[in-house]
């Protein structure tokens, strides 16, 4: 390095140091301890690549819509919000280091949760170590709530085990002679999918309904002929799938091919997917639990659907809605407590959420000690090839009567 170069480098370094010091000084002195008019920084790690990239990007869209809506309405505590989103590649190890660096190095004011039980649990652990409030949009399996987290809240109406609760209540309210007497279950070997099916199974067994088939298949299964044959052979009145998308589609078509005609058919996850009616020509009568509907009559929902459609070009689905709900839950606590920064404020936010109910796009939410939401999933049904909400908490949420027995498929 020549002498001239050395001088230049030293000069640039000194100038940079001075500029940085000056910047640091101004933000510290001018705005007081509360952070003044600086934007509120929210740290989020999401699976934007890898196994969960599709739903991860859905969650990202929901968070972006929430940030835009809240900023358009004047921000949070009068300050704009800024999202710091990083990609964890669906890797539980990366999600840990992401939240570590967002909280400890970047000093974000708040954190929101990632997607999927597999990432929510390690992320919640980091947030708890730093005493941060941790509201998450997508960890519904029971193991999320049995880890003893004291900072975690799930921003959806119900945990997986409770998804079919309204359907169970409906079945129990039917006259004895009409009620399904036998039921067949097929479920993916996955905590969420199995949780939904077994929540209903255990209640039905207790109520005296006979389980005639109870199959479990691996997540990568593509051939459903044998499972469908077992179900068709036992011919239960009610068939329930603890399913994700592709397995539900393949299973339903396999059942249809064997001309098995149940009186009631319910599958989790798949029926709310926009691709579902394109993949299956006979969808009428199929039931599914859902945590969200574009048409749900909750006060903020219309604004959410409108803002989301404008920002992303299509109406929101469940992942987007749960992300938006996460934002609404945290915002309600921040507005009520009047602070949003690391430290004591976080415990105040947690304490407030333990005691209060928050109005969201998926309805009013409150939580138990472990962070389980205390509401119910709606039940939808395909009627005349359209999704209709047939069971909801309170009659004002329903759009049509449940069709039973279901039309032949």
């Amino acid at each position: 390095m020549s002498r001239k170069t050395r001088v230049t480098v030293a000069a640039v370094a000194t100038a940079s140091a001075l500029v940085l010091t000056a910047c640091g000084g101004s933000s510290g002195e001018g705005e007081g301890g509360e952070g003044g008019d600086d934007p509120i920084q929210i740290g989020i790690s999401l699976p934007l690549s890898g196994d969960f990239a599709e739903p991860g990007m859905g969650v990202q869209r929901g968070y972006e819509t929430w940030a835009q809506v809240i900023n358009d309405n004047g921000g949070l505590l009068g300050r704009q919000v800024e999202l710091s989103i990083v990609d964890d590649a669906s890797d539980p190890a990366r999600v840990v280091s992401d939240y570590e660096s967002l909280i400890a190095q970047d000093q974000v004011d708040l954190v929101f949760g990632p997607f999927s039980t597999r990432l929510v649990v390690p992320a919640a652990r980091v947030a708890e170590e730093y005493g941060m409030l941790f509201v998450e949009p997508a960890g519904a399996a029971e193991e999320v709530f049995t880890n003893g987290f004291e900072n975690l809240f799930y921003a959806a109406p119900a945990v997986a085990e409770d998804h079919y609760n309204l359907l169970f209540e409906y079945i129990m309210a039917m006259p004895e002679g009409e009620r399904p007497e036998t039921v067949g279950f097929a479920s993916m070997d996955d905590p969420f999918a199995q949780g939904t099916a077994y929540g209903l199974r255990d209640q039905l067994v207790e109520a005296g309904v006979e389980v005639v088939v109870d199959e479990v298949y691996p997540p990568n299964a593509t051939d459903f002929d044998a499972i469908a044959a077992a179900i068709a052979n036992a011919d239960p009145d009610l068939v329930v799938g603890g399913t994700q998308y592709q397995d539900a589609v393949n299973l339903i078509i396999a059942l249809q091919q064997l001309d098995y005609q149940p009186r009631m058919a319910a599958f989790s996850t798949a029926p709310t997917n926009p691709e579902f009616p394109d993949a299956i020509s006979e969808v009428n009568g199929i039931l599914a639990p859902t945590g969200y509907s574009n048409d749900a009559p909750y006060p903020s929902n219309e604004e959410f659907v409108e803002a989301h459609t404008e920002l992303h070009g299509e109406a929101p689905q469940e992942d987007e809605a749960n992300a938006f709900t996460t934002g609404q839950v945290v915002a309600a606590a921040v507005e009520a407590v009047g602070c949003a920064e690391q430290g004591e404020c976080q415990q105040q936010l947690i304490d407030w959420l333990r005691e209060n109910t928050v109005d969201t796009v998926v309805g009013p939410l409150s939580w138990d000690e472990a962070g389980r939401p205390q509401s119910a999933h709606m039940i939808l049904q395909y009627i005349d090839d359209e999704i209709q909400i047939v069971l909801a908490d309170g009659d004002e949420g329903t759009q049509a009567d449940l069709v039973y027995p279901k039309p032949e498929w």
Binding site: V216, P218, D223, A232, Q246, N250, Q257, L258, S281, E282
Partner: protein
């Protein structure tokens, strides 16, 4: 009993599809000692083309074969001549795994880029129809894919047994040096054989698109069972692959009754281990495997 009969029918139909998908795979090995990891990738690509063809034109996905069979044949020929043939003969088998693994990744990436990771399924007017056979329901789409498999395998058999090209191909498989001595252009023959093998992936893809949802990484699910089938059947033997495919497909479906789907799918790997222990050159045919 009704369930067992129903399962036997479904297992045989399933085995037919496996046979078609495995036939191409066993040929690559026979002709070139190439482990073609990308074969299942091409099957999924064929299925995507069939799906896209139907969504654009509204026509039956089977008609997409008019485009995909010749296209895959040309791609296979080009792949052999310009990529595989350039690998060093001494390390061919190992290097072909790496090369075709990369090709599989490229296919998966491109499909994901174009059509996202969303699962697709063609909704066919006859998608849920079935015929009644002595009390068992036989889905129409499975009959079609079985027929497709049977016709393709029969044509392949005729080509191998009855044509001059087939004789040249078999000679190339059995003894490349001797084949060259009697005037066979073994390079060109191997290229054509590779093309034919890949063309079967197009047919298999269309058959697959009729009866299952498809997504970009689906090929990883298929490649394991297919490799197991060709080892059990005897590398390089088309009848061997067909018999092993039907036997394993049928066993898998029947095992699901007592054991459930998770354990039943291990039959492919159990059969693979058993074959390697007891009869490493395969149970049906497969004199060739002794060379490795």
């Amino acid at each position: 009993m009704a369930l067992v009969f129903q399962s036997v029918i479904l297992g045989l139909l399933q085995g037919g599809l496996y046979a078609l998908l495995a036939a191409g795979l066993t040929l690559y090995f026979g002709i070139m000692r190439v482990v073609m990891i990308a074969h299942a990738g091409f099957i999924v690509l064929g299925a995507y083309i069939a799906w896209r063809f139907t969504t654009i034109t509204g026509l039956d996905p089977m008609l997409s074969l008019v485009i995909t069979v010749p296209a895959f044949f040309l791609i296979g020929y080009a792949m052999q001549r310009f990529l595989i043939a350039r690998l060093k003969p001494s390390t061919l088998t190992m290097m072909s795994v790496l090369l075709t693994f990369a090709i599989a990744m490229i296919i998966e990436g491109l499909i994901g880029l174009l059509y996202s990771g969303t699962q697709r399924r063609i909704a066919l007017p006859y998608g849920t129809d079935s015929l009644n056979l002595f009390g068992a329901s036989v889905p129409v789409v499975q009959i079609i894919s079985f027929a497709l498999a049977a016709v393709s395998l029969f044509v392949l058999y005729l080509v191998m047994k009855k044509t001059r090209f087939g004789r040249a191909l078999r000679a190339t498989i059995q003894n490349p040096e001797a084949a060259q001595l009697v005037g066979i252009d073994t390079n060109r023959t191997a290229g054509l054989g590779f093309g034919i093998s890949l063309a079967t992936a197009a047919v298999g893809g269309a058959a697959l698109s009729l009866q299952a949802t498809i997504w970009p990484s689906l090929h990883w699910h298929w490649i394991g069972p297919l490799l197991a089938i060709i080892v059990v059947g005897g590398l390089g033997s088309i009848p061997g692959a067909a018999i092993a495919a039907v036997a394993l497909g049928l066993t898998q479906v029947l095992l699901e009754i007592p054991m459930g789907p998770t354990w039943a799918q291990t039959i492919f790997y159990a059969a693979l281990f058993l074959t390697l222990m007891v009869r490493p050159h395969g149970f049906f045919g497969g004199r060739l495997a002794q060379r490795f």
